[in-house]
């Protein structure tokens, strides 16, 4: 049951949207003058959607960001004059490993938007790809810089990007993601405030064609909504930093990391811990008193893994990553508060969900996914210890 993704400007919705045969429903991103304001699922009948019905559905589900943006449009409100200031210079970093085709799409989009900008650098960190395909792909783009990280691990590649970047602000995007037109501007604008160490953005799925992609979107969506949010340590406890955003759409201030330390190289893809490296960074920045801003206008599009096998691996990896991150918090940062939080999560969140899946209740996720995630959680602490041992032997 695939879902069609539609990206619509609210006042330019055609009378009838056709060509939707074979799709029982659509996920619609609603924009107001380019600004993403709402996301909703709409059923498709006879391969088409009519404007009348669509508009009614949008209005019924629309929340404050939609109405606010619409009022701005109606009254032609001149936006924040601060927006007109120049953006800070930025390096866009793409960390990649053996995904030359995805990378080509990503670089095509990036160079189309930013290839000619003198203040933007595009940097690809090749994380020990097994063949020369990654390097060859990058060489087709003269405005893109290539660098090689010989030790496997996404966090090692991220650290390499931070060391190599020419600019103070480093914006990360995954090789399987595409930027929206205004992505970098929106993601870097808030760095004019010195206490902002990190900005995260909204990530939408490029396609939901396979059951695995749909399950991913419903199970662990990247979307954090359409409200702009400011996170500080007085608002959320650093142990729960996962709500802040994800590494596929984030920008960091390099000078801050000189004080709080680089990414933890025992975490994330390419190591036994599979993920958690981005969350751990958010957590450390919050604990050190910095602000993290979630800016929905910083939109990018992510291609979720297509096969169920890849999905299972990803979900298992998220389970491992979260508990590996908490293990680090406990062992290195001496944050014992993770123990009640981890237990609480397991007992009130995951185990009840697992039971609901087992009983096949409504809205329960697939049983194999939740089981894998819980299994991953239990493996997390050992994975972190194992990864650290490997890390020490690599560094030594």
């Amino acid at each position: 049951m695939p879902t069609k993704i539609l990206d619509l400007e609210f006042d330019q919705i055609p009378a009838v949207i056709t060509g939707l045969d074979g799709y029982p429903r659509a996920m619609i991103l609603v924009r107001m003058r380019g600004r993403p304001v709402e996301r909703l699922y709409v059923p498709i009948s006879d391969g088409m959607i009519r404007r009348e019905e669509l508009c009614s559905t949008i209005l019924r589900s629309a929340k404050r960001p939609f109405w606010e943006s619409w009022l701005r449009e109606i009254l032609s409100y001149n936006p924040d004059p601060a927006d007109e200031r120049p953006n800070p210079r930025a390096t866009i970093a793409v960390c990649t490993r053996d995904r030359a085709d995805d990378l080509r799409c990503c670089l095509e989009a990036l160079t189309q938007f930013y290839g000619a900008e003198p203040d933007v650098e595009i940097l690809v960190v090749d994380n020990c790809s097994s063949s020369g395909a990654t390097k060859e792909t990058v060489q087709a783009f003269p405005s893109v810089r290539y660098t090689y990280e010989e030790r496997p691990g996404l966090n090692r590649a991220r650290n390499k990007a931070l060391r190599e970047a020419r600019h103070e602000i480093v914006a990360f995007i995954d090789d399987d993601a595409l930027p929206d037109a205004n992505w970098l501007q929106a993601l870097t604008r808030d760095f004019r405030f010195p206490n902002v160490a990190c900005v995260t953005g909204l990530t939408m799925p490029i396609e939901l064609e396979t059951p695995a992609q749909e399950a991913f979107e419903e199970y662990t969506t990247f979307s954090r909504g359409f409200y702009r949010q400011t996170f500080t340590r007085s608002r959320i406890h650093p142990v729960g930093a996962g709500v802040v955003g994800a590494g596929t759409n984030m920008a960091l201030r390099r000078s801050v990391l000189e004080q709080t330390g680089p990414f933890d190289e025992a975490l994330d893809a390419g190591t036994p811990t599979f993920s958690g490296g981005d969350t751990e960074m958010f957590s450390r920045l919050l604990a050190a008193g910095y602000q993290i801003i979630y800016e929905p206008c910083a939109l990018n599009w992510h291609r979720h893994r297509r096969s169920w096998k890849e999905l299972r691996r990803a979900i298992y990896g998220y389970g491992v990553g979260v508990y590996a991150f908490w293990t680090r918090k406990f062992l290195i940062d001496r944050e014992w508060y993770v123990i009640p939080v981890a237990l609480h999560w397991l007992l009130t969140g995951q185990i009840p969900t697992w039971l609901r899946s087992l009983l096949r209740l409504k809205n329960a996720p697939p049983l194999d996914l939740i089981s894998l995630e819980i299994w991953g959680c239990l493996m997390g602490p050992w994975a972190y210890l194992k990864s650290r041992r490997q890390d020490l032997s690599v560094t030594a």
């Binding site: 209005l59 701005r72 008193g289």
Partner: protein, 437 residues
């Protein structure tokens, strides 16, 4: 334009010198810049080091007996030759564009008061207290950064702000009756005089503050005293005072402690002292939640101690707080009507011209509500309008726009779940701030 920077200082030579050094690196021409240091009862070697300090700008200094920063700032302002006064604290290190940013932000508007951004530099401090302190500052600056923010008297921070010399003298400078919150009191008089506040991020200074619990607690005590005096001067501000909020919203343990403070001061002191001793242990155990609750309990305790010094009994406190006008009086409406059907620009212009304390809001013949009267908040100007409309009046506005045919909705606005929620809160708010129509 000529500029005078006024820096009060008290026994902090090394800190002061760092600030003076930063003023020597300004992009603004040094020939138009005068720096006046007021030594407020200094007993260290500040005077000697100023006598030998060489600066590209005109450096002047004067001594007074220790009478507090308000009196020191008044003295500095009296001597100032500059058309624009920038008040700067001795522990704020100015960025190179600091003076320039203050000057340009004024845009030649007489009533303008520009508040600069004092970025708390706690880079090497990682204690809970220093992070908490930084959080307070940042939360405040973040609020002021929002476009169309309406400034309140207690947004007036005397550590980094600028005002034309004539306007400063016109409102009468700082009050000598208050040892702290003298900036709030000035803020109130500025608001009454129709000041137009602005926050300027580029007027950046790095605030080198040391997080010191004993100092913060002493200050809280002073704030308790000052707030009661402020409330006596301006009864309409009583509902905005911390005493009011603590009295209404404190949780039971804090309420008990406050009660003890007035009835059994020795016992209360012992409890507070024990709490203070326990604080580092909670930090060592990484118990941020408990640590925070205890900190706020302590701060509240010391604040009430100040209040108790002014008001002695709980009965007096109650009388003081209930002596406040119920809530902003809805009856005192001014005649101005803002009609949005004439376009946003026109509506903003009318507000800019009239600068009313309150106004009626309509769209053609339809009433949308009002721009409410709020004591201690700057008068309305054009920039305030749109952010206000995006808040509570969203529902009546869309209702009117739909009924006027400005927008076409395929369904009735009452059917929209978002507005069903908004309608209730809007009606309640209208009742409170605008009175019955």
């Amino acid at each position: 334009m000529t500029v005078s920077i006024i820096i009060p200082t008290h026994n902090r030579r090394p800190v002061l010198v760092r600030t003076l050094d930063s003023l020597a690196r300004q992009t603004f021409p040094a020939a138009q810049l005068e720096v006046i240091v007021v030594l407020d009862g200094c007993r260290d070697d500040t005077l000697e080091s100023l006598e030998t300090y060489s600066a590209p700008y005109t450096l002047r200094f004067i001594e007074q007996d220790h009478r507090g920063p308000g009196a020191a700032r008044n003295l500095g302002a009296k001597l100032a030759n500059g058309e624009l006064l920038i008040f700067l604290d001795d522990d704020i290190e100015a960025a190179p564009g600091f003076v320039h940013a203050h000057v340009t932000a004024h845009q030649g508007i007489y009533h303008k008061v520009v508040i600069g951004y004092s970025y708390p530099n706690l880079a090497r401090q990682r204690s809970y207290l220093s992070l908490e302190l930084q959080g307070w500052w940042e939360a405040m600056f973040q609020l002021m950064q929002q476009p169309g923010y309406r400034f309140r008297y207690n947004d007036m921070l005397s550590g980094n702000f600028s005002i034309s010399r004539d306007f400063f003298h016109h409102v009468g400078g700082f009050s000598a009756n208050l040892s702290v919150h003298e900036d709030y009191e000035l803020g109130m008089r500025l608001i009454i005089a129709g000041a137009m506040f602005a926050f300027e991020t580029a007027a950046l200074g790095v605030h080198h503050e040391q997080a010191d619990l004993q100092r913060i607690i002493n200050r809280k005590f002073q704030e308790g005293i000052a707030d009661i005096r402020l409330g006596r001067m301006y009864p309409e501000l009583i509902p905005t005072l911390l005493a009011w909020r603590l009295w209404k919203y404190s949780l039971l343990p804090s309420k008990l402690l406050t009660h003890l403070e007035f009835t059994q001061p020795h016992l209360a002191d012992w409890i507070a002292a024990t709490m203070m001793k326990a604080l580092p242990r909670f930090e060592a155990a990484h118990m941020i939640g408990t640590w925070r609750r205890i900190l706020y309990g302590l701060l509240g305790y010391w604040y009430w101690k100040g209040v108790a010094q002014e008001l002695n009994t709980l009965r007096a406190v109650q009388e003081f707080l209930t002596g406040a006008p119920a809530s902003p009086q809805p009856q005192k409406q001014e005649g101005l009507i803002i009609d949005l059907s004439q376009g946003l620009d026109q509506a903003e212009r009318s507000l800019d011209e009239a600068r009313p304390s309150s106004a009626k809001l309509c769209y053609g013949d339809y009433s949308i509500g009002c721009l409410p009267l709020q004591p201690g908040v700057e008068r309305w100007h054009g920039g305030h309008l749109m952010p206000f409309l995006l808040g509570e009046p969203l529902f009546p506005l869309f209702k009117t726009l739909a009924s006027q045919g400005v927008i076409q909705l395929p369904i009735s606005i009452e059917e929209i779940p978002f507005f069903q929620e908004l309608e209730k809160s809007y009606l309640a708010q209208q009742e409170q701030t605008c009175g019955s129509p």
